[in-house]
Every structure is written in C-alpha cells, then in structure tokens.
Symmetry: C2
Subunit: 412 residues, 2 copies
C-alpha cells in the first residue's frame, strides 16, 4: 500500500525547515513594497519592488524561449556583468513589454536608472521584470509617476504589498516563508510568485522572487537555484505554453553559512520553490484542483520528470480529471508518448490509493471511489516503472471550460 | 501582399490531380464494406474491411508511442514478414484493444485468422486496426458474429460504408478520391480516415487507409508514404495527445507505373493525405474552424514544421482563435518556445491578409477586420522568418469549451 500524504504538496521527512510568517521579506534585511500606479485598467496594485541588503548575491533563471522581453535580456546581462550580484528588482504587472521593439529596452533602462538613482547604487545592480499582455508597451508616465510613492514606502514587512502587486490573472497571491535552525543560527527563506496561465516546464508567464538571509558564494548559489528550479518551477504545467518573460530571481545576503549546512539550505530552497510552484499550478486558469504526478522506477531523474510532465500536460488527462473520470488509459497513453522508452508490461498505476493497473494490465477497481478521489483539491497520480530506481514529481491542474473562457476573452 | 487561397486546404498549382467521386474504393480493384456488429453501444456501424487485389503492396506508418495496442505490433510485424505486401485490413471501432494485456494479441490473431480463411490467403497478409476506448477488450462474440455479414457484402463501391464504420467521436466521415492522367493512363488514389481527438504530430487516434491502382515497388512505395505522412498526418494537431493505435496503411496494386511518373504519384498521395488530415483537424473535438499555419524563411523544412506545429498546438493560440481574438503575441510566443532558434527581430506575421508584425514589432492593424478573419471556417496564420528559404505547413483547430465537455465526460 502506498503511503498517501495529506496534501499533494511536498512533505519532506526530517527536514529542519518549518513554515514561518511573512513572504519575500521574511528573510532578514530584505525590504519590499507595492502600489497601484495605474498600469492596470482595473486600478489594482501593479508596481512592486524588492530591495536586498548591499552585497547581496543574486541568481537568475530565465525563459528558454528565443522570443524574450527586453527586461529578461537586461536581467541576464546584468547578472553576468556583476558576477551574480544585485541590489533590487522592480516588477510591473499589466504589460509584459515583450515584442515592443527597441522601445522595450529603452523603457526598461530608464526605469532601472530611476531606481538605481534612488538607491544610490550602480545601474547594473538593478533588475526589472514585467508581466502582462505581450506587445503592449508600459505606460511610462504612469510608471514613472508611481516610482516616488513606491520608493517612499518599501519596508521590512512589505512582502504582502509586493506579492499583491505582481499578480495578473492570478486569483490569489502566492507567498512562502520557511525557517530552520542551521548550526547555532536561524536562517529564513522568503518568497513570492505570480502566474496562472502560459505555465509549462522550462518556466512560464511566471515570476518568482526568493530571498535568503544567509550568504552563499555566487557560483554555488547559482547551482543550488538551478537544481531547485528544475525540481519546482520547471516541474509544473498549466497549459503547455512557455512565456516570453519567465524569470526566477533568488537573492542571498547575510552572514556566510558554514559549508556543512549548504545541503540543508538547498533543501529549504527547493521546498520553498515547490510550495510556490504548487501554488501556481493550483491557481491555474480555470483550475479546480492540483494534480501531482509521481513517476518511480525510471532510469534517471530526467526521464522520470519527462514522463511526469507529459502526463501533467496532457489535455486528455486534464479533462478526464476535470470530469472526475478515472480514465487510466489516457494516463498510460501520455506516458507512452513522452519520448522516454519503457516496457509497458511493467507499468503499475495508482490514483490516490486505488491501484488501477499492475504489470501493464487494468485491474478491477471501484470506479466510484476512484472518481471520488478526483473530487479532492489534491489529486495524486502515481506511475511505477521497472526500469531503474529514479523518481520525480510534476504538478499541474485540470482543464476546465473556464480555462477556455478566460483565454478566449483575454484581450478583447 | 500575400496571395490567399480560397481555402486553407492545399491547392497545388500545376498538379495533374483532380477530385473524383468515391473514397477508399475509388482505386480500381479495391473493395470495402462496413456493418454494425454491436461493438458500439450506440448501434452505429463499427466493423469495416478493405480488400486489395492479390499481390498488393502495402506501406504502414505507426504511432511513435511505446504504449501500443497489440494490433499495431501485429501490423508492423506482418508488413516486415511479407516485405511490404498485404491483402486486407479489418477495422473495428468502439474499443482500442490497447492495454488489454495478452488478450489483446490473442483476439487480434483470432480475428485476422477468420478473415484470412474467408479470403483464402495466408494470415500474414491480413492486418487489423482498432480504435475506441483504451483498456477495454473487443466484445469477441459480437465481432465474430459480424464477420459473416461483413464478408458477404464487401464491394467495389463499398467505400462509404467502410468510411462510416471506422468513426468514433467523429462528427463526419472523411473520404478522398483523386485521379490524374499519368502518361497514357488514368491513375486513381482513394482514401478514408477517422480521428477527432488525441490528435497530434507523429500520428494520433487516427486511422487512415489509402489505395492506389498503380503498382509501385515496396521500398519506393514505403518512402513515398513516409514523406507524404510527414507532410500531412504528422503536421496536424488537435490536442497534443498521441494515441496508442495510430496507423496509416497505404495499398498500391495494378499495372506498374513508369518511373518518370513517380514524382507525380507522390504529389497525388501527399495531396490525398493532406485533404484527409485537414478533414480530421476540421472535425477536431469541439472545433469550430480549421487553422492552417504556414512558416516560411526557415533554415530547413523540419525547423519550419516544428514551429508551425508548435503554434498549431498552443492552447493559448487555440483559445485566442476560438475567442476570435487576433492575439498575435501568443503566436510569436509559441514560435519562440518551439525549440527552433531564430532572430525575433526578423519576424513578420499575418492573420489572413492582415499583416500584424514586421521586423519583430507590432504594426497598427484593424482589430475588427482581423477578428472577422478568425470567424471564418478556415483561419490562415503565416509567420515569416529570415533564416533561410524552407517552408512548411501545419493544421489544427480552435480549442473550445465544447472540447473540454466532450473529454471530461467521455467514459463516465
């Protein structure tokens, strides 16, 4: 029998990390703020800033699309110029500032210059992320007029305001704060994210910002962040579309951490990112549940992840879950087309705690009980192969009529 | 200005091929039939047969999924055993006979044995294709009882009956017949197909059967069929899901064709397959229009096809078209994540005859007029790069609330 956790969201045994209050400003020394600058027609908050302590290390992961917004290029270049350091990031929501031609870069440069002047740091240390409609320039007069109130009010408890100001079609804000006793000190990791459509492995219209109040050497921090992203933000899918603007920025600043504690720090970073990633999948456009797919017995983690992501991304699996229909055939069909070879005669499959297949063949099962599992807020699908011992998890959501309505009517 | 054809469906200049009446039995010497054997609960036709002349050459293309139905394995093995020859194929709809364990193969073998006995040919020359729900065995008593009426009535004008009996969720049957004067003779190509969900490049829950009344040597026929499939059935997508049962079988039998006419024959075969492929995309589950994406100026045909297929498969593009929303940002975003690198600053984009982008930047355009284009039955999207001179086309359909309802409620 398979041990089912209460929630599909990761519960790591023996982890020293516990939830604490706060979001991106939970980590000591970080400040944030958010206001309404009139970038969104709705008048909702649309301009946020996160300010790190001086000397902060920063690692970034960006969209793999070759059509990228100017702000993504700017972030990527500046992190190279500064060898992985940054002081602040400004986030505007409403306009993605992608496919806006030369103007996109000009506007991004101008905004970061204003912020750098206010903070009294060099421009290279200031980053910018944009999210919203593609092809529409940022209304610069509104944004520039908003800089003064924004920069007059960023604080050490401003995480909530920032988390609200980065949202677009999101229904809820997404924040996380974890703390752990590492050696003789308390370390905190904070974070916030946005995204609910155009979400797919290799990032999404998805922005995420993490903070950590322990210092880590830039190259090491970058490698920790990359691995954690691959096990979190790159393991979720809402609709298979990768955005022009996807960005994860993770800051670390404070007392250096002893080397023996690095593994624990990476664990905490991974947990924080997985919580945010699941929050995005759960808030997927039109979604009514979170789907977690666990693949076990694969040759390596990459193969397991590829199968898990393919199942999570299958329109037929997503619609079956939405219809509360334990249609296991679609799940194995999706696994079969994932590009990873395996022996179909070894496949075992569970939905929740109900085993539907063994040795590649269907088992008799209680269809009503299995359908009831699919009525939960968290749906667990587990596929077991016999190719090796590697495993991976991916997260997604169901596909509803509501998703179609939201996306058929977005700009009109 | 871009010359817009009346229909998105391929019109090849200077092609000698013209539509003629009939379907899979349009080619001389081929016979077909179809009946209701009680495999479908609905009582609709569900058992079909196509019988080729003796000595017929047959080429097959099969699903790339590693989870394949027993009948797919059987077809593939038998075509190898016979060096590319086959006499007949039986098609049952209602049950895919995939993930049915050892029983799947036992049943397939038994069915083909009955048909071989009736035709008086060796078992290796008889093929079988199944389509329908995965994991459900074929009701063998019904099927076997249906063999006698089926085999008592297959005729040279039975294409219509066969085309009706292979359908599952299809709303309409899909048939094609083309004829051309090649040298001093008339050559005919006939075909039929089924499929409207689980449709994606590299095949789909899609079956297609082509016939040709000119003989071609098996290896050459196989290579012609492969190329034609890559430009037709492998260039359509409905929902991104590849099936366990996808099969294309193409028969050729008759007087040998002179070598100079081989290129024309391949052209006809490609046109016939493209017509059937577009018919499948147009009949996509919940679809209200056919989307054709043309990508030009790519380095090679494979790159162009990859971009075209990614755009056709994007949920965001598909929902935008459904919402009659000329959201060009989603189109270039999909191109950008296709995995093919290109310079985004060279991109030009048209919807219908309305140019929306030039040199990677949006142009002012008449939003209402562009939206009106999306109200048509055929929507043309054209993306032009500056990387090379290769081009390709892909076809898909819009994504509607109706798609979700059809697939959320399929087995329950």
């Amino acid at each position: 029998m398979w041990p089912v956790s209460r929630s599909a969201v990761v519960a790591v045994a023996d982890s020293p990390w516990r939830r604490c209050t706060g979001g991106v400003t939970a980590a000591k020394g970080f400040q944030a703020g958010g206001i309404s600058a009139g970038l969104k027609v709705s008048g909702r908050p649309d301009l946020a800033v996160v300010v790190a302590p001086e000397q902060a290390v920063c690692a970034g992961c960006f969209t793999t699309s070759c059509v990228r917004a100017a702000c993504v290029d700017l972030c990527s270049e500046r992190l190279q110029q500064t060898a992985g350091h940054a002081r602040a990031v400004l986030i505007n929501s409403g306009q993605a500032n992608a496919c806006t031609g030369d103007r996109g870069l000009v506007d991004s440069l101008r905004i970061t210059r204003v912020l750098a002047d206010q903070l009294g740091c060099s421009e290279e240390l200031v980053l910018i992320c944009s999210t919203g409609v593609i092809g529409v320039p940022i209304p610069m007069p509104n944004l520039l007029a908003g800089m003064q109130p924004l920069l007059a009010d960023f604080t050490e408890d401003g995480g909530d305001r920032a988390a609200a100001a980065i949202l677009t079609t999101d229904l809820v804000d997404k924040q996380i704060a974890l703390e752990a006793q590492l050696g003789d000190r308390t370390v905190r990791i904070g974070g916030m994210a946005k995204g609910s459509g155009m979400i797919h492995p290799d990032m999404a219209t998805m922005l995420a910002f993490l903070t950590c109040d322990a210092a880590v050497e830039p190259a090491l921090w970058q490698s920790m962040v990359r691995r954690a992203v691959s096990r979190s933000f790159n393991a979720i899918t809402v609709d298979g579309d990768t955005s022009t603007n996807d960005t994860v920025l993770a800051f670390a600043a404070g007392e250096p951490l002893a080397e023996p504690d690095h593994a624990q720090l990476e664990l905490g970073l991974t947990q924080a990112m997985q919580e945010l990633a699941c929050a995005i999948a759960r808030d997927g456009e039109g979604a009514t549940c979170l789907i977690e797919v666990r693949v076990e017995g694969a040759v390596d983690e990459a193969s397991a992840l590829q199968i898990a992501r393919t199942i999570c991304g299958s329109s037929l699996v997503k619609t079956a879950v939405h219809g509360r229909d334990p249609n296991w055939g679609r799940i194995v069909a999706a696994a079969g087309r994932s590009g990873v070879r395996f022996n179909p005669e070894d496949v075992a499959l569970w939905i929740g705690e109900h085993q539907l297949m063994a040795s590649g063949q269907p088992l008799p099962f209680d269809r009503q009980a299995a359908s009831d599992v699919l009525r939960g807020k968290d749906v667990l699908i587990r596929l077991k192969l016999m190719e090796g011992s590697a495993e991976a998890r991916a997260w997604g959501c169901d596909l509803s009529d509501q998703y179609v309505r939201i996306n058929a009517d977005y700009t009109t």
